[in-house]
Symmetry: C2
Subunit: 168 residues, 2 copies
Amino acid sequence: MIQIFTGNGKGKTTAALGLIIRALGHGWRVCLIQFMKKDFRYGEIEQLKKLSGIDIFQFGTDQLIDPDHLSEIDYTEAEKAWEKARDVILSDNYDLIVLDEINVAVAWNLLPVSRQLELMALDTSAELVMTGRYAHTEVLEKADLVTEMKEIKHYFQKGISAREGIEF
Amino acid sequence: MIQIFTGNGKGKTTAALGLIIRALGHGWRVCLIQFMKKDFRYGEIEQLKKLSGIDIFQFGTDQLIDPDHLSEIDYTEAEKAWEKARDVILSDNYDLIVLDEINVAVAWNLLPVSRQLELMALDTSAELVMTGRYAHTEVLEKADLVTEMKEIKHYFQKGISAREGIEF
């Protein structure tokens, strides 16, 4: 099954993290691939690493990606993440595979949507979860489950900025 | 700050679990109160218990609640959960407090909405997260952040039922 968490609201990556915790609780083997690690301070990754049964692979740089000024390394990291995702899906070593922010990598043209569809077409018994806003229509069509995290109200609108421990 | 995860889509409780993992990763003290533990098989709870820095309190029974045939114990459990929530919020012992499914407890009249608003009005420096579909309008108005998990597409529509490791 393929699940998508998309939309402009909070909770896409965090919902995937929750699924990971649930799956580990059932003794599943889990793999998390982060396509665009935007920050090295992510507290949740350190926490997940303490648990057994999960492998984590991070790609991208510690710099925020500017979609209007993509650099060579953004492309090569996205490509490396894609290759790792393909290998992991084909390995049959995992029951749950989370491709974090792959939707954004495609939306920002770091990867053509055809590459994402290619991953979705691979033969696997693993549950596949893909996160990130701007999920492509073709991706939504192919997915089994799509949830849109929709921002109804946000304190950022009141001028409050991202808070450590909550947003990252 | 008060955050709400509501809507008919997946990922409300799981997003809260993800926030818990993130917060623990930052060394925060976390409390999870489940208003309507519907099942004793929840893998994620066993997993969370392995981590340090979190206290978990579960209320409700192992039976599915039927909102059209509420029993005495459903009410007393909801009341106990509410009291625990109030004590925990006032204790100042936690940085993140998750009240899981409190929105549903109110929607099903196990608690009047005034009790939920009362919790929201308590003076605390903790981050408060309340989950569950059917969040009351007055609750949404008082909250700082509201995310609606919206079901766009779901394999349940295809007749596939809840799967262990994924839905519970």
